[in-house]
């Protein structure tokens, strides 16, 4: 029979969804800023592999010659990005939710099993609580990346007043590269995240909006009344 199981807290859902448009605006306005000195690319043995970014990309998204506008948006939305991220981190620390998030001593072994399972190489489902091992690593990493963006961002925004932070980030020049690389990282994370969410299905997706997931429990005659009682109580406390 079906049972409602609470999964994501309201604050986790709120910060998750607020972050989405805020980060989108940060990347969009960040491109306006980057355009003014688009010095980065990837080259191997002197052969230029990728240039960030080709002309058609700037044209398609109307990025050219909007530096001032980009800075104005960037330096407003940075506050929302920072405050939203801070809220999530404080909540995760003080609620104890970090226990389900941070990798533990089993995680790296299990993450390998998750990978094999996802690639249909291994049949057995790896152990999982709220997040499986691969999710623990990915979701912890993305929070660290967010902190990295704030730190490197502040380092290139006020490199003189926060000279110590600029030094920690490897100096002004390197901090700007890091700040850019992290953004490219978000794009990759986003793509993989969307695919994984699509594969995980409706129950998983609904949990990030409604907070609960529905699980199928085998009827156990002896315990059944206890279980239903439990869900009822939970539901009432929500009202």
């Amino acid at each position: 029979m079906k049972v409602i199981k609470e999964k994501h807290s309201l604050l986790m859902r709120w910060t998750h969804w607020v972050n989405f448009p805020v980060l989108a605006v940060m990347i969009w306005s960040g491109l306006f800023i980057y355009w003014a000195n688009d010095a980065y690319g990837i080259s191997i043995f002197g052969y230029s592999l990728i240039k960030f970014f080709p002309e058609w990309f700037y044209d398609y998204f109307h990025i050219s010659s909007r530096l001032a506008e980009g800075m104005a948006f960037h330096f407003l939305f940075m506050w929302f990005f920072f405050i939203n991220g801070l809220l999530y981190i404080l909540y995760t620390i003080f609620s104890g939710a970090w226990k389900a998030l941070l990798p533990n001593k089993h995680t790296f072994k299990e993450a390998w099993q998750v990978l094999l399972h996802d690639l249909h190489i291994r049949k057995t489902v790896p152990p999982q609580k709220k997040y499986n091992a691969a999710q623990r690593i990915a979701y912890t990493l993305i929070i660290l990346m967010g902190m990295g963006s704030v730190a490197t961002g502040l380092a290139i925004y006020k490199p003189v007043q926060f000279y110590w932070l600029c030094w920690l980030c490897g100096g002004y020049h390197f901090a700007r590269i890091l700040h850019f690389a992290l953004t490219i990282g978000y794009v990759f994370f986003f793509i993989i995240h969307i695919v994984q969410v699509a594969l995980a299905g409706w129950n998983n997706f609904r949990a990030v909006i409604a907070g609960f997931e529905v699980i199928e429990e085998k009827p156990q005659l002896k315990h059944e009344p206890v279980i239903t009682e439990k869900t009822e109580n939970k539901d009432e406390s929500k009202r």
């Binding site: 079906k2 448009p21 006020k158 003189v160 007043q161 700007r176 609960f212």
Partner: protein, 263 residues
């Protein structure tokens, strides 16, 4: 107790019903907030542009945010925070020339005839020759010049510390005002700087680059080097200097950039 009373009237919701109900409420709230976000974004995009004045060229709410953010970050400013300096050998041999506004559009300029003009409120002027400025103690700096566009370059400049200059030419009283305005001789490029940046110990009026007199393109005969600001505030070929308690006009602030532009 209330819940119990309800139960007597209505049959308790089945698990199915609870799922439907909570899903409906959550997605409804989610959709409503999504629409709210879209509406706010559209409002911001369509917000009117500020009336051109000391600042201009950007949307009113964004300018307000820039100014508020400036005030917040000015709290962290200290003249004890120094820009990192480098050995002379690290300096670029041919430093980048990025902009020639106020230089290329001034055909009548004669460097030999140049004198710095200090303008006072009472319409009187003080003229200071390059020789008089060069007679003051020289300050050198090799630091990472940062452009608002995003590039940076280690450059080697020398000149007189602005605070020394103000003290020597008895301009300290005048410099108690909140802002200093600098303009090119033809007035086509101009910047405003707040007092704390003017008095920063690394701010200089430069007449030498890489140990030689500054070239025309780099702002001969005298230019501003203010390492606590982006390059846009480092005015080349200073013509006039003035002091005010209001923000002096600023070329890039009129075009949508932050007035402060401090690092």
């Amino acid at each position: 107790m209330k819940a119990n009373a309800n139960k007597k009237v209505k049959a308790p919701l089945t698990v199915e019903q609870k799922i439907k109900r909570r899903t409906f409420i959550s997605f409804g709230a989610f959709g409503a907030m999504g629409l709210g976000a879209v509406a706010s974004w559209k409002w911001l995009l369509a917000a009117p542009e500020e009336t051109p004045g000391i600042t201009g060229g950007t949307r009113v709410p964004l300018r307000r945010a820039l100014n508020k953010t400036e005030l917040f970050f000015r709290n962290f400013f200290s003249n004890k925070h120094l820009v990192k300096t480098y050995p002379v050998a690290d300096a670029a041999k041919t430093p980048r020339v990025n902009s020639l506004i106020g230089i290329e559009d001034d055909e009548n300029f004669d460097a030999d005839d140049w004198k710095l003009t200090v303008k006072f409120k009472n319409k009187t002027n003080q003229y200071i020759s390059l020789e008089a400025i060069k007679a003051l103690p020289k300050t050198e700096i090799v630091y990472d010049f940062k452009c608002v566009e995003g590039w940076d370059e280690i450059q080697h400049w020398a000149g007189v510390k602005l605070s020394d200059f103000l003290a020597h030419f008895k301009l300290e009283e005048e410099a108690k005002k909140q802002y200093m305005g600098l303009e090119t001789p033809n007035g086509s490029y101009y910047v405003g700087l707040e007092r704390e940046s003017i008095l920063h110990p690394q701010t200089i009026l430069a007449y030498e680059m890489n140990g030689k007199p500054i070239s025309i393109d780099h702002g001969a005969p005298l230019r501003l080097i203010v390492p606590v600001k982006y390059g846009i505030k480092n005015l080349k070929r200073i013509g006039t200097m003035s002091f005010s308690n209001n923000r002096p006009r600023d070329y890039w602030a009129e075009q949508g950039y932050d007035y402060y532009s401090g690092l």
